[in-house]
Symmetry: C2
Subunit: 260 residues, 2 copies
């Protein structure tokens, strides 16, 4: 006798294309930063071996952004994440169904129809990415997942489908947008020391930045402003504090005017 | 009696989903720059009123980039354009079929089946953009189009579907990527005067840039290098020439390190 979840899954496999747009999915690369460490959130698909990005399909009534946010919430229990579309993936060989043991999936979820389901037709996937402070969120596996965990960016296991490529491209996008999207702003307190912003940039870019020249450039470009205020962090240690120049960020985001 | 093109069209409407991935299309925003002028390439769909971006579907054997390049070639006769994916559009109301006079289309192309064709299901569209020197290309209308022309960026007529939004977003992307993608490089000779690069940036950004501070920032960021060489353009007029610092551009494109 089937339970509610099995009935829902059977209906999804057989009739899902009536609710969701077929041939298109969404996959999400969720970065987490905290104190010099960059991580990424990985999930899985119940009944299949391996790790993958949290992903799903787009309801016919949803915008793409709404779908991405719902999928993250359903798969990871994280709410209110600011997701941003970065690239769409559609190489013909991106999902090699032949390499998957569908029988294994079928054993656990005995729906023979999956072999001819709309789910098996060629699928193009829209990549979204987000960054959050990983110490502030508690991911939990959701519908059709059994795991949902943070992995250090340099210890990611090989992923299913083309998700390795998706992670590489998301990281490149994150790095290239560090200066004109309000990314770093979300990871720092309103007032911060230069060592703190230095650590965020170094960790995300994955390389050393000059201790003096780097903040000098941020100041030259007017992305941050020095405050007439210090923070006591120990004897003889009270660095000046800085804040983001939000207008400059907003302007840059809208018109691409970071540099002029 | 049907001619070859009508037979091909009928087959496309009825059986196209076997060759092409349904529910996903590609639309292309092609910018053209020359001598202080920025234009955009608009096409149409034979049998329908109005202007739209050159667009089409993805063959099941193609990568997305291959499809985008083929579509541009088929619709505009332009070959070898460097197209770049920038955003995917999927709002539920992006194509309002009810507002289209399908009978008008059917009259010219009498295929009643279009009303229930795969073409009428909800479609998500992947946006590509490119920029070229419009004085060097000669667009011509291709398959299912009757027009293909350059329009000044500030004289674009209202477009079909959500193509106005696509153009706005492409322009924003173009502007925000001006500093770390090799965009401007394609529009200037190898050695150029500061007035020339100034004109390209001003025209694409659509606003005035400071005549001295602007090149100073480009030099500060090492995006351009001054050459020990001048060009004679008239009596008492021989400005120094500059060239792009290609390594810096490539580095910036790969790792987002434009500013540090």
């Amino acid at each position: 006798m089937e339970n509610w979840e099995e009935t829902a899954l059977k209906d999804f496999v057989e009739n899902g294309y009536k609710t969701y747009i077929p041939n298109v999915s969404i996959d999400c690369v969720i970065f987490g930063y905290h104190d010099h460490r960059l991580k990424i959130l990985l999930s899985d698909i119940e009944g299949m071996d391996g790790n993958c990005l949290p992903g799903g399909y787009i309801k016919r009534t949803e915008t793409l952004d709404e779908a991405a946010n719902r999928i993250v919430e359903e798969k990871t229990s994280i709410t209110g994440l600011y997701l941003q579309q970065y690239k769409t993936f559609g190489d013909p060989g991106r999902i090699k169904w032949d390499e998957f043991d569908l029988d294994q999936f079928s054993k656990k979820r005995p729906f023979k129809k999956i072999k001819s389901s709309w789910l098996k037709d060629q699928t193009i996937s829209i990549g979204y990415y987000a960054i959050t402070d990983f110490s502030l969120v508690e991911p939990r596996p959701g519908f059709m997942s059994t795991s949902c965990e943070w992995y250090d960016i340099d210890k990611i296991p090989p992923l299913m489908f083309d998700h390795d490529q998706m992670v590489r491209d998301a990281l490149q996008t994150l790095r290239s947008q560090l200066y004109y999207h309000p990314i770093v702003e979300k990871l720092l307190p309103e007032k911060f020391a230069l060592t703190e912003i230095h650590a965020v940039y170094e960790t995300i870019l994955g390389r050393e930045l000059h201790i003096r020249n780097f903040p000098q450039k941020l100041l030259f470009l007017e992305l941050i402003t020095k405050l007439n205020e210090k923070r006591n962090i120990g004897p003889h240690r009270a660095p000046f504090l800085y804040k983001f120049n939000k207008d400059k960020y907003t302007e840059a985001l809208k018109a691409g005017v970071t540099l002029v």
